[in-house]
């Protein structure tokens, strides 16, 4: 389907609004999806949240021309939609065996100089650590994992100052590091 066909398929917006909206979808759909996924941790829910975000944008179609930074504006909407959808906080509890496996993956990751992919248990462990962080730290850390967003843009999305975002991100990373160190210490000596 060509761009022109897609534009005419929307059929509701006339002229510039149509182009703006389609461009927004083409440029930022992936970012919106990643923001949603960072909160919901589920492909299906993330896609639903992405769809909802753009449907909301459709409601504001008359105001599209007045928006200076559509990327941040979209990121803000996506964040709100995703947070609203995550009614209960995502929490993962790992068994003792899984924790041990995660520790082994951590040690092998530390020992290896290559950019190897971390194992599933390690990813789950990190997810569970992030999910129990205090809310302001968790929000900043989750958004910082979305590679399309800079610190300034994260500050805009969360309505905070740039310095506050930097400091929260530092604190969140510190907490995660301490937890990982503790994990290494706990399971490191076991065979």
């Amino acid at each position: 389907m060509t761009q022109q066909t897609l534009a005419s398929s929307i059929g509701l917006m006339a002229g510039t609004d149509e182009d703006i909206l389609e461009n927004a979808v083409r440029e930022h759909a992936r970012m919106v999806y990643r923001i949603a996924y960072s909160v919901l941790r589920n492909h299906h829910d993330a896609e639903d949240a992405t769809q909802e975000t753009f449907v909301r944008v459709l409601r504001y179609k008359r105001k599209l021309e007045g928006i200076e930074d559509p990327k941040t504006w979209l990121a803000k909407i996506a964040w709100r939609v995703a947070v609203k959808r995550s009614r209960r906080g995502f929490s993962t509890s790992l068994s003792d065996t899984e924790m041990q496996t995660a520790s082994m993956q951590l040690r092998s990751g530390l020992a290896s100089a290559e950019d190897s992919v971390l194992g599933t248990e390690m990813a789950q462990l990190l997810t569970s650590f992030i999910s129990v962080l205090p809310e302001p730290l968790r929000a900043v850390l989750r958004l910082s994992t979305v590679e399309e967003l800079s610190i300034v843009e994260i500050a805009h999305v969360l309505g905070s100052s740039e310095s506050a975002v930097r400091s929260r991100l530092f604190r969140a990373r510190q907490i995660l590091k301490e937890k990982l160190l503790a994990l290494e210490g706990k399971y490191g000596n076991k065979p």
Partner: protein, 188 residues
Amino acid sequence: METNHRDRFDELLDKALHQYGYVEPRIGLEKRILANMQVAGNRGLSGYRWLLAGTVTATLVVAMATGIWHRVLTPKQNVAAPAASQDAMKEVSSATIPRNPRLVQPRTSRRRRRAVEGSRVASADSPRLARFPAPLPLSQEELLLARYAEHFPKEALLVAQEQRDFEKEIQLAERDAGAASGFPDQER
């Protein structure tokens, strides 16, 4: 040694967080979004149509209800009744309404009579009426009868005939009774 370990941890954390945030949507996300937006837009448009249709219907219903209510409240005095119903009305009025106007006129006090006479004097300058004396306004009972005759002319005609026959029978019975008692003057 400790600093090196920490740096290594930082690197590992960076890698883990990158892996945490790196996710690719299913192929064709943009197309699905655009298609969904089209559906949502059409739904919104049809919603507006339903709203418009609902508003127009509600307005029509209110207008009709108002018209019917107005018609019910307004008496139909100037409406020309059909010929059959007019006949029926005559029959009804002749059969049921007493001919003696004295009986029809309600008793009024002297003050009231004077007031009415005064108003007659005051309205002497007004143009002459087409019919003299002006007909008295119909009472509530007469109005009801007139409406009945207007709506059901045949039934009203039958009722009027029945009433007339009944009156004749009573008159005949009175005559017979008078003749039997030997007082023929009672007929008068």
